[in-house]
Amino acid sequence: MLASRVPAGLVLALLLVLGAASGCAVVSDGREGRGAGGGDLPRPTREVLPNGVVMIVQPHRASDVVALQLWMRVGGRDEAPDDLGLSHYLEHMLFKGTASRPPGSIDRMIEGFGGASNAFTSYDYTHYDVVLPAEHVRSGIELLADIAVNASFPPEEIDGERQVVFEEMRLLEDDTDRFLVRRLYETAYAEHPYGRPILGPRPLIETLTRERLDRYYKKLYAPANMTIVVVGAVTPRQVRPVVAATFGRLAARPAPRATVAPSVPDGARRSVSVDRAEKQAYLGLAWKAAPISGADVLAVDLLTYILGDSPSSRLNLAVRERDRLVFTIESGYGAWEKGGLVTVTARLDPVNLDRAERSILDVIRRVQAEGVTETERQRAIITAESAYAFDIETAEGLAKAYGQAETTWNLDGELGYLAKLRQITAAEIQAAARKYFGTDAMPYSARVRFVPR
């Protein structure tokens, strides 16, 4: 989303405001990157420890750093009605301290090494990321194993963090692009867990207790739900004994996840209009599509690239350049474990809301009727190949691709992704457009409009 059309000044301001200062970030809009395998790197080492912890190690020598990521099969979708928001609250609390690490000491240790940490919560997973100079790999693994089971939840830290989460809610509402995608998910998924706010409802966060948080943590933060990914200037021989001595010693126990029904295209059409303070309007349309392990995921992925990934995409050329109905337009595909959602979002003059929507739907009808060209198909594949090549420039980029694949999908699928993508035909892309992208009678799963007051 921060690609070429955004001025660097704005990127900087957004990074300043959204990134640098926030201890965590909520992935609430499904635009997570699924890494694509098949590059020049050797196969990663993947081992399952006797207690169920999965270890993935990949040497990566682009610099003298190591990326360590703990991926948990715990996310917004695991929350019972009175647990809403707990996955995210836990994510905030884990770096606060453990039985042997007082509050503040974890941040001081990591930053003193010249390292950094971050953490993210989503519907299907939560992950804790550390990047360190490679010589500190042991300290990093010990830290992640410690916070995975020994978080101490000091009462005064829990109370202080409440205000931080409330601030995060306000911030989300002030960030129009993110808020639009959030509302699209809410509208498209309605009662399904993917429609919930990851941050939780305010009243539940107000009354959250240490006991509830601890119960949720003890229930789900079990070895069977953990994947530790280590990518950087290290070898599996170095990493294996450290992981065995830390994660390997955690007691095995059952950690069943909540059962979540797949969300399939259901023929429902939902629409909301929101009065907002901005002077410009925003339009979002969404279609339910294939989940990450679905057979159509590759075709939908290519279709999304062709529709709205770049200045040469169909929506940009037609709705922005030809019809001049929007200032910006793009598409995104969130492929989750239990469902997928394609979104198209645009910023525009309020007088153009109806015409822009018709123009977007025209573009889609045309793809459904006539298909895509071979040039478009090849360009989309090259775009995917390039995105992968740029991701693997950094250790943390690669670690994230592996962690996400292992957690919501599988590592082999990830490694074979590019090769399979190249085999998708133009006919398959057209078939996906027909299958998922609606009809004149049912043009979308969800529509959200932000209209200036």
Partner: protein
């Protein structure tokens, strides 16, 4: 798209000491016409990045034509003598690449990326955009509407708006006060003739630096660069106008806007990137607001819950810098948060920082700097920017040594000098 990161996920994960990067060979050449090219060979990933910087930005603009550097670039990407904007977009997508152009405060940039096997095409497109832009009269009003929509978007975003208002107040007559995108009034005044004149005045070889980083061979890239850019006519351009000095004024400004959060910014003018105090102010900013162990984050957010965003910013710039302490907080907390911020400023002027805090700040600062220079895109930019700013190719190493040499007394002196009487801006919900 599945492979794109969410807005929020673009948090820069910082760190690691400055090692392991020096090994990649860097070649630099000045062509006879004054054009400079720098190539960094980096075999690790099959990608290439280019950054073409031009000495042209808001620092050389006047209020009545604010935003013209950026605007010229917005029109440039609409097409060349050979190709339409759409054709360029299709071509670059076929290289697995991206190409964009924008004006900034210290420079303007055309930047691009591609799969490394297409490096020659990427360089060719970059040169075509730089040297043969169409600058069609019809594109001017359309792009003006687009840039105006972005001006509006910034005004609607509480954080962007707060930073823009803060810089305007802090810098006064100095052009760093001007928004890079320009204003409604200035954009209305910039016509086709002004765009063409500005382009011609600034796109001169002696004002341009091209840096290329990636899986490429320096000899090939140099030869291609000579072929593409060597024919530009050199010679004397017009000298840069004198830049007005900022007028020092410690002020407190309150702005009201539709928002949920209150934004509080406080800070002062600070040294330029080549000033002797630069490293001390970098460490000062990091002690206060760098990372999660920085004082603003640890004290105001983590310990007292007075803010959600809590950070300090001090970017290296060619002219006078700005040290900005920033809080984003709830309306109910705003008064206490502002008092607490004042308290932190008073404390760092009064008491020397501890050895442990100083070491943490230096580790964090240098780690972040090293981390930020790992990708080819960032490397290309750093190489070109240091060349354009004329701080020398050894700047990273000199900067690292300067940071390591900073003492607690230096930090205290820097605080007393640069935070003597801070300017404050508060943006609160209407």
């Amino acid at each position: 798209m599945m492979r794109r990161a969410a807005l929020l996920v673009l948090v820069v994960l910082a760190l690691s000491p400055a090692r392991g990067f020096a090994a990649d060979p860097v070649t630099r050449e000045r062509l006879p016409n004054g054009f400079t090219v720098i190539v960094r060979e980096n075999p690790l990933a099959p990608v290439v990045a280019v950054s073409l910087l031009v000495d042209m930005g808001t620092r050389l603009e006047r209020p009545e034509q604010a935003g013209i550097s950026n605007f010229v670039h917005a029109v440039m990407v609409k097409g060349t003598q050979k190709r339409s904007g759409a054709a360029i977009a299709e071509r670059i997508a076929a290289l697995g690449g991206k190409l964009s152009a924008a004006g900034e405060s210290d420079y303007s940039e055309i930047r691009g990326t591609a799969l490394a096997r297409f490096w020659r095409d990427l360089l060719g497109l970059t040169a075509e955009l730089a040297l043969e832009p169409k600058l069609a009269p019809d594109d001017v009003p359309d792009e003006r509407d687009y840039v105006l929509s972005r001006v509006q978007r910034r005004a609607d975003s509480p954080a962007s708006r707060a930073f823009d208002e803060f810089y305007a107040t802090l810098y006064g007559a100095h052009p760093y006060a001007l928004p890079v995108l320009g204003t409604r009034a200035s954009l209305a005044r910039i016509d086709h003739a002004a765009v063409v004149a500005h382009y011609r005045a600034f796109y001169r070889p002696e004002r341009m630096v091209l840096a290329v980083s990636g899986q490429v061979t320096a000899g090939d890239v140099l030869a291609e660069t000579r072929r593409l850019f060597g024919a530009m006519p050199g010679g004397a351009g017009t000298p840069d106008p004198p830049i007005p000095a900022p007028v020092f004024a410690a002020r407190r400004v309150v702005v009201e806007a539709p928002a949920q959060q209150v934004q509080i910014l406080s800070g002062g003018l600070a040294p330029s990137m080549d000033h002797a105090d630069h490293a001390a102010v970098k460490v000062l900013g990091t002690v206060l607001g760098g990372g999660m162990a920085g004082r603003l984050f640890a004290e105001l957010r983590d310990r007292r819950g007075l803010a959600y965003n809590a950070a300090a910013y001090y970017d290296p710039v060619r002219g006078p810098g700005a040290l900005v302490l920033y809080l984003g907080t709830a309306p109910d907390n705003a008064l206490r948060a502002e008092e607490a911020l004042k308290g932190e400023i008073a404390r760092i002027k009064r008491e020397p920082v501890s050895a442990e805090e100083l070491a943490r700040a230096k580790g964090y600062l240098l780690g972040r700097y090293a981390m930020d220079r790992r990708t080819n895109e960032r490397q290309a930019w750093y190489l070109a920017f240091y060349e354009l700013a004329r701080v020398g190719a050894d700047y990273p190493e000199r900067y690292r040594r300067a940071v390591e040499a900073v003492t607690a007394a230096d930090v205290q002196r820097a605080a007393q000098r640069y935070l003597a009487a801070p300017t404050t801006l508060v943006l609160r919900p209407k």
